[in-house]
């Protein structure tokens, strides 16, 4: 693995070939907001919050490999503005009511919005009528709070290996489903492992019986599992 040098916000920094821009940028202490990215599962490049300017062109840092001589800007006024707009779009898309949400105070969408200074939504709330699925014995799925980051799909497919979760439909009508769009509780493939719940950034997936602001999610289990499995870090 060879060392490469690139310019980050005017400063020369170094990284390794094969690293994504996001990794390099975060290693150098610059914080980029992300929602669909999660260490341990594949990249999706869907939320577009980690957009950066590379040699004047916009690209998502999570899916761009760092290259020698890149000129990267992470916090131009335009980028910051676009990030807020993307967040506004997300808040307007479904019914995100933080005040009565089980994840209030622990939600990634909420904290990213707060960090980006998104304090109001200028777009029309689309207010779709979406159901909740509380058929699972241990967990609840609330489509109203889903941002379609598909972390649940990826962790279920890549780590648990069950491929219970899928997306149905497309565009604005996309929804996460289990198996043939049936109730989660009746899914023949679900192992009830709960990984999807833990990786979900919002209150779309949560434990049965959680009440307002009560749900908190573990985030460190994934590197632990994957490190143990792949890199054989467990030594017992």
């Amino acid at each position: 693995m060879s060392v490469i040098t690139l310019t980050l916000n005017g400063e020369m920094i170094s990284g390794l070939t094969g690293q994504t821009l996001l990794e390099v940028i975060r290693e150098h202490g610059v914080e980029l907001p992300t929602l669909c990215h999660l260490e341990g599962i594949s990249e999706r490049g869907g939320c577009r919050l980690c957009m950066v300017e590379v040699n004047g062109r916009m690209t998502a840092a999570c899916v761009t490999k760092a290259n020698e001589g890149m000129h990267v800007n992470t916090h131009t006024e335009k980028l910051q503005n676009y990030r807020r707009m993307i967040l506004e779009l997300l808040f307007a898309e479904r019914n995100h009511v933080c005040a009565v949400c089980v994840m209030n105070g622990h939600c990634e969408l909420q904290s990213v919005a707060a960090a980006q200074g998104m304090d109001s939504v200028r777009y029309d709330y689309l207010s779709p009528e979406l159901p909740m699925d509380a058929s699972h014995k241990r967990f609840v799925l609330d489509h109203n709070r889903c941002i379609l980051c598909t972390r649940c799909l990826r962790v279920c497919d890549e780590v648990e290996g069950a491929h219970t979760w899928e997306l149905k439909g497309r565009g604005i009508h996309s929804m996460v489903i289990t198996d043939l769009n049936g109730p989660w509780g009746e899914s023949p493939s679900c192992t009830s492992c709960g990984k999807c719940v833990q990786v979900c950034p919002t209150g779309a997936l949560y434990d049965q019986g959680s009440t307002v602001a009560e749900m908190e999610k573990k985030h460190d289990f994934l590197p632990w599992i994957l490190g143990g499995r792949g890199k054989k870090e467990w030594n017992w």
Partner: protein, 178 residues
């Protein structure tokens, strides 16, 4: 061998339906390759008219694909339908040329006359209206496809007349039949 409930869940459902054989043959013809899923779905929809749960489960088990995968693919593409088709189907092209030539007026009048919006089936289940973007016959816009028959240069009035005729013919046929 002890067959647990879970295991039987994963076996293809047994069926006597000969149309299912057609699907099975298609899967076999594509060598059980997972990338032929869309082709298999096309064949299944042609055989059954729509895709129901049993059919999708069958295909998933045959092709060794997760259930969600099959549903996800089928629901992504507009061509696949999960509802049984109506007796008669009127497809209105809403491509650009047809839009310019007033396809919307045809849709509006269809809604007014039969109470059916694009994507809906009439209350009696006899007529469905779909919008479709572009069978590629823009020179003859606006274009209709009624029960598979391609028609060009339609007006709202001629469309309504055709469909009324179609529905009336059925009625006569039914009256004669018994």
């Amino acid at each position: 061998m002890l067959v647990t409930k879970q295991q039987s869940d994963y076996a293809p459902p047994a069926t006597e339906d000969p149309r299912m054989d057609e699907v099975a043959r298609a899967v076999k013809r594509f060598g059980y390759q997972q990338d032929a899923l869309i082709e298999v779905l096309h064949i299944a929809q042609r055989a059954f008219g729509y895709l129901d749960e049993t059919l999708l489960t069958y295909i998933a088990r045959q092709m060794k694909l997760p259930l969600g995968w099959v549903y996800g693919v089928a629901s992504f593409y507009h061509f696949f339908s999960f509802e049984p088709p109506a007796e008669h189907n009127c497809v209105v092209c809403t491509g650009t040329a047809c839009y310019v030539e007033g396809a919307q007026k045809i849709l509006d009048l269809l809604e007014k006359e039969f109470g059916v919006k694009p994507g809906q089936v009439s209350a009696d289940g006899r007529l469905s209206v779909t919008d479709f973007r572009c069978p590629g016959s823009c020179g003859q816009a606006p274009i209709l496809v009624i029960d598979g028959e391609l028609l060009g240069r339609e007006t709202p009035e001629s469309t309504i007349a055709r469909i009324k005729q179609l529905l009336a013919n059925d009625k006569q046929a039914k009256e004669v039949a018994p």
